[in-house]
Structures are given as C-alpha cells and as structure tokens.
Symmetry: C2
Subunit: 139 residues, 2 copies
C-alpha cells in the first residue's frame, strides 16, 4: 500500500484504479518525473490509461497539497510526491535529473527584513544546479 494513496484517501478522494496506478508510479520513483514520463510508465501497467487522466490526476493531487509541482527547466513540470517534508532540489544541467536534498539551514532565516519589501515570506526553496556523475563523465 502506497503511503501517498493513504494520504490521498484521507481527503475523501476516490481511489480509482487509474488514480492508484498514477499515485504508485509517482511514489515508486526516487527521481522526479514529468507528466509524460509518468504516463509512459503507468501505461505499462494499464495500457488504456489516457493522457488526460494523468494530467487531471496530477493536478488534483497538487490541489490537495499532497504532491508538489516543480518547474525548473521551463519545459515541463515535474511532480514530487514527498510534499510533507521540507526539502530542496539538486538539478543536473546536462540531463535534467532532479533529486531531493536537505540543507543545513533554513533560507528564510537568511533573508534580512529590509530585503522583504513588505512581503510575508512563508517558505523558501533552493535549487542547486550542477552536473550529475553521468554528465560529468560524458563531457
């Protein structure tokens, strides 16, 4: 039983076979997939699954606050099932691979009051960029 499915069920959200496959595909990966990659993998388990259902379902999970939507490459969104723990992202500039990482400090503490321009700052996320081992070897 997927932990994400458990969390989703708490919102009284109907867990249909399609939604279960999508949630499990999302959670089963340790990297962050795009919607197309999730569709591709989910279709292996449920061949008649449609693109629209994948997009609808991902958007609903984001709206419920159980999945994070990430956009770092400007091309496609990526989905992170780990919405309940504070973390940041490490992104490969070569291949787009994205991993979760944890920093030793909370960046909100490092933004002085006079740099806040009257905003209420509620959260901060760090995008670390570099090259993954494979892309280092390739270059």
């Amino acid at each position: 039983m997927s932990d994400l499915v458990t969390r989703l069920r708490r919102h009284n959200w109907r867990i249909t076979p399609q939604r279960r496959v999508i949630a499990e595909t999302l959670e089963g990966s340790h990297v962050h997939f795009t919607a197309e990659q999730i569709l591709e993998r989910a279709v292996e388990r449920m061949p008649e699954l449609s693109r629209a259902t994948v997009y609808n379902t991902l958007n609903e999970m984001v709206a419920l606050g159980e999945v994070l939507e990430l956009t770092f490459d400007g091309r496609s969104k990526r989905y992170d099932p780990n919405a309940d723990h504070e973390h940041h992202h490490l992104i490969c500039e070569g291949c787009g691979l994205m991993k979760d990482v944890h920093a030793m400090a909370d960046p909100v503490d490092w933004l002085p009051g006079d740099e806040r321009h009257g905003f209420t700052v509620t959260r901060a996320s760090i995008a670390y960029r570099g090259l993954c081992p494979e892309c280092q070897a390739a270059s």
Copy 2:
C-alpha cells in the same frame, strides 16, 4: 547607454538595432518580463520586429551569461538582465510579482557533501515565496 548593451558588446556580439531595442526593453523594466511581454513593448519602438528575433536574442543573451532565464510558474520563462550580481528571487503567490533579493549567506555552503550525490554543484538560487503587500491587503 544601457549597461547591458555595454556588457554584451564585450563579447564581440553585434549590436544590431533589433538587439539594442530588446536589450533596452529588458533592462528598462524593474520586474521580470516574459518573452511575449518584451516583444509587446519592443514592438512599440520597432513595429517590424519579429517574434523569432526576440526569442533568438533572448536565448543568445542567456547563452552569453549576461541574462538569466527564470521559470517559476511553469508557463513561460522570464528574463532577468541582472546576471552579474548574485541574487535570489521573492515571488508573490497571489499575483506572480517577482523581485530580486539578496541573502546574507551562500546556500551552496549549506549543502553537506553527503547530500551532493556525486554532483558538481556550481550554483544555487533561492525562491522565496509569500504575499506582496497588495495581495495581503486584498485577502
């Protein structure tokens, strides 16, 4: 004379009338525009300017390292002419307004070696999110 134009010229990059208009439009704004917004404003000064030239020029300026490409909303890229000073961004979750801010420390120092997964980490940027004064008042 635009400072961005000066920086671009140092790369032996030809400053054509189109490129000058685009660079000046980009630098003249204190918020970060999308490519379409830049086109819209630049066309007021040079009506025959084409969409392709705006996209080409923005991409070239990014490749030269003089302009930053920002993607926070997952819909369109925004361009930041201030690539030569290390800074982060403060984003309003209500209206999308984006401002430059400066933190008191470099976040790269906060990522322990065992969290780097073999990546070479070259830079890090922080996205601070919250509500701007106008959106606080509206809610």
